[in-house]
Symmetry: C2
Subunit: 306 residues, 2 copies
């Protein structure tokens, strides 16, 4: 039976590339039939990366049949996985997020969580000497995952391990990291095709803070104006999305990759309170700039207060 490898419901480059990398490793190196899947449409960067390295974007699935062998990557949070995940046959989990505590397995399985910047780096470690068998396309995906999750080493989640691996892969591929990252970020920054609601959901995760539920949305871009010019539409879509998704408020952070800062939308008293209490700032107007803030995991979520 073919093992399905997938990440979370808002597929960015790591959650699209890592399933392709691990499906290659399982099938080609370990001889266990495996295929990558997505739990949602890939973002524009992920779509660019897949095509750039000669892969079709994996097909999107809604749920998994009970008993299906699966490998879960880049998340361990059941809220970011198909409804039927705990009835699937979870074979292994490879992730770099905090342990969330809702996933269960029927027996002991391989679980590897590491505080590294991206899932693909952990996969490289797990492959050991077999990593040398990676074809060019898989190396390209791996490099892309690292550059995407570290925002070209700018994010505080970056570790020496991620950076050294990226540099070694780029050298193997004879690729200039700065040039390639610019191409990737340009792809990510082109959000013209998305509706306001789609933008709010694209790279977003739900969190509960002091009894309030938030959808914390982060848009990483080298062209923040393209997003901020749509402020009015985004603010009105916030209400719709919050209602539809059963949360109290959508929080939107537009991360300027090059200036290394985030702009948070502050359309009402709740978001104003969150911004001031969480980031030790004073809000005037309906946006606030948070210097240095780039990482949801390291800088936004741990500080959120209501």
């Amino acid at each position: 039976m073919t093992t399905l490898v997938f990440g979370h419901k808002a597929p960015d480059t790591d959650s699209t590339g890592s399933p392709l990398i691990w499906a290659w490793y399982l099938s080609e190196v370990r001889g266990e039939p495996a295929e990558a899947r997505l739990l949602g449409e890939p973002n524009t960067e992920a779509a660019f990366v897949a095509e750039r390295w000669g892969f079709q974007a994996p097909s999107v699935i809604e749920d998994v049949e009970p008993g299906t062998p699966v490998v879960v990557v880049d998340t361990n949070n059941p809220a970011e996985l198909p409804e039927g995940i705990n009835s699937a046959d979870i074979r292994s989990i490879i992730d770099h997020h905090k342990l969330t505590g809702g996933l269960e397995t029927k027996g002991p399985i391989d679980i590897t969580i590491r505080p590294l910047a991206c899932t693909a780096t952990i996969m490289h470690q797990l492959m050991g000497p077999k990593a040398s068998e990676m074809p060019e396309g898989i190396k390209g995906l791996m490099l892309s995952c690292i550059l995407s999750d570290t925002l070209e080493f700018r994010s505080p989640t970056t570790t020496d391990v991620d950076r050294a691996l990226a540099e070694s892969l780029a050298s193997d591929l004879d690729l200039n990291i700065a040039d390639y990252a610019t191409e990737m970020f340009a792809a990510k920054s082109d959000v013209s095709a998305f509706s306001d609601a789609e933008l709010l959901r694209m790279d977003s995760k739900e969190y509960e803070v002091d009894g309030k539920k938030f959808r914390v949305s982060v848009l990483e871009t080298t062209a923040p104006a393209q997003v901020l010019d749509r402020k009015e539409g985004l603010v009105s879509a916030m209400d719709t999305v919050a209602k539809e998704d059963g949360v109290d408020q959508v929080l939107l952070f537009v991360v300027d990759i090059l200036r290394e800062e985030a702009t948070m939308l502050v359309p009402n008293d709740l978001t104003k309170g969150v911004a001031e209490k969480s980031f030790d700032t004073t809000v005037e107007g309906d946006t606030v700039v948070l210097p240095g803030v780039m990482s949801r995991k390291k800088q936004i979520i741990p500080n959120l207060k209501v």
Copy 2:
């Protein structure tokens, strides 16, 4: 701040030896101050093993202060850990049990779960080339953990990796595995010092099956008569322990290590039903022999039905 390394609340050899092994590795190899702790009195085998290899049994703690750096080994189940575990600063988890789903961490940490027979084997893998620095005492603990959890390779949880490591360690230590395992099992089988209630709690874990809560107790011994001769007292202690621990029923399996079978106590209709439905057997009288059953993880828990 010293990191505390501990296993679960019913310390057997793996849950006593592994914290000592990892505290050695953290302190001596990685230069991070760490000490082993226990969450309960070690069983007789674990106490024998610690003394045999020159260690004092780690001191027993009841709870952990908020913010204490801790490493959790040989479990990921909050029910088997101190009440305050989710307020501690969990630095890493090393385990070989199914993912239970109640533990949370504040950020991404090192989590390594592998389907191997014992935690100590995973630690050996994590040490990599540094494992060659293990002094004799640490090697002895590691060998003991493997022999204990695999019942000298008889348990179906045994993997080739565990066996090869045990054989290599025994060779380094110039130790005959069969002789040493006999000493260990004799220590474990001497349960004369324990009350009936203590015996029922010694190596036991709580599970819920179809709405019924069970404390599933396993006593591994080379002298099953020593336990079964106390049947009357054990059966009456079952009621007391069940009430005190808030479960519906204690299930006691006396595993005969040498005959490779378990004797289950069947004092009432509930346990009779569980025995017959779970193990495809017919019960006559107040005990039932289950041939080949040695592992709670692989053979008892996955089959439990009410």
